[in-house]
Symmetry: none
Subunit: 200 residues, 3 copies
């Protein structure tokens, strides 16, 4: 995997509102990645989403899905809010020059959008990966081993993974996942329950 690039991998000690840590992988190995969400215009006109970060077509579609799904999630958590109906939001995935693609940042995008809408930071030292369908089901993703290694290397304590990736984690050597709490989920609401615990 080459030497770990700590300086770029962990940008924040604690992620602010609107920022959530995800996990990515390529043939070169895994890495953490951040999804940043920000409000461009609030309370005027229709909701919409802009994306940046050299995202490929699948990842751009993933952001559209995240936007629609986040709206449903917010409706269940804060029925009075019309945040996504009236706000223009922007999602960026640093570093800007690194091409990225794939659907596995779906749950990270939704969590970042909810963080923004709720005005609340996500649980510290948490990372996540998982494709999300339009109605909020979590689908399995690739590169579990590389992502787990990257999470530990970046000092993550808890990771959220799709339930359908259970076998991939079971097959990992104990040393690889040591000290890491893994939470398996089937729905985006389960992701949000972890990221925004009720009794905090």
């Amino acid at each position: 995997l080459g030497p770990p690039a700590f300086t770029t991998e962990r940008i924040w000690e604690q992620t602010p509102v609107g920022v959530v840590m995800g996990l990515a992988w390529t043939s070169m190995g895994g890495s953490t990645l951040y999804v940043e969400a920000s409000v461009v215009d609030e309370g005027e006109g229709k909701g919409s989403i802009t994306t940046t970060g050299s995202l490929g077509d699948v990842m751009k579609e993933s952001a559209l899905i995240a936007f629609a799904c986040a709206r449903d999630c917010l409706r269940r958590r804060d029925p009075e809010s019309d945040f996504f109906q009236t706000s223009r939001v922007h999602i960026h995935v640093p570093a800007g020059a690194t091409p990225k693609d794939g659907p596995s940042a779906g749950c990270t995008m939704i969590t970042a959008l909810l963080s923004l809408a709720l005005g609340r930071g996500a649980l510290p030292d948490l990372a996540m990966t998982g494709e999300v369908t339009l109605t909020g089901r979590i689908l399995p993703v690739g590169g579990i081993k590389e992502k787990v290694i990257a999470a530990r290397r970046s000092g993550v304590k808890k990771i959220i993974l799709p339930k359908d990736n259970l076998r991939d984690v079971d097959e990992l050597a104990v040393e690889v996942k040591e000290g890491l709490e893994v939470i398996f989920v089937e729905t985006i609401d389960q992701v949000l329950d972890v990221a925004f615990p009720k009794n905090e």
Copy 2:
């Protein structure tokens, strides 16, 4: 066909409102697929449709046709509703990174849109395939054998097929279609009568 990938094929035990099971096939064999429809904005401005799921040009056109046709269907079932005139809807076909194309999910898309407009889930354990014309005629599709095998493998009990595919089903060995109720249709209204039975 290789080992069945149950975990990704059957995402829901029972599909929620806006989600309908379709059938797809490639040179690699058949599979079930889901069409998810969701409301992005309701009751404000003109109706429109967004699609995601790495859809090819024919399938994107199929969604436009489905949107126009669904409006006519709703007019016949609920003449007072202006749902499709005033709502921005979103159709997604998971998994996001799998390229898909072709017109055969037309009837599945229309059924998902009607489910959304009526606020009512489709009949459980139902799958369907069929191209739909703009005025609601059902045209035959390819891969009937592969689709029937995939439906049975996923525990589907009832499938809707185009009437012009009758011969393809007749030619199948009895073992292939055993235990599966096949309903042949000529119009989209016949599809909707099955998906949303009146006496339920």
Copy 3:
């Protein structure tokens, strides 16, 4: 020409409002084709047209010409109607996955649009082919022999052809055109007089 595919060629016994039968040909032979027109939005805002059916650039332009020309035709037939000024209409040419191109469906598209605007089905067992200019002149088209054969095979009784194709029909063997009434036209108004007879 291979075996005739009756089941897909004749979709309707009698075409409903907005649907008109045309004639197409390729190097593989002739076939009937349907143009379907449907209203997406009525009575609000500007008129516009959407097309689907894997249409090539020339055929997409042909639909734009048809939309403008249909407006003039309607003005002559029903001066009070503002249907095309205020409606968003959709033209589809099944089957969705079959690429189509060329200008020869122009008169079929205009007839389908007029059927929609007048709320009246076209004459039964009628098919037509002909390019239309923006001001309504009918230009000759190719594949007359193949189209005549396809029309007879599909049980068509009357076909409308451009007057400039008179020689092509004269050259056909009597058996080919037997039992088929051929009407030659120079203007789109002559087409519409046949499709929507006054004394019916």
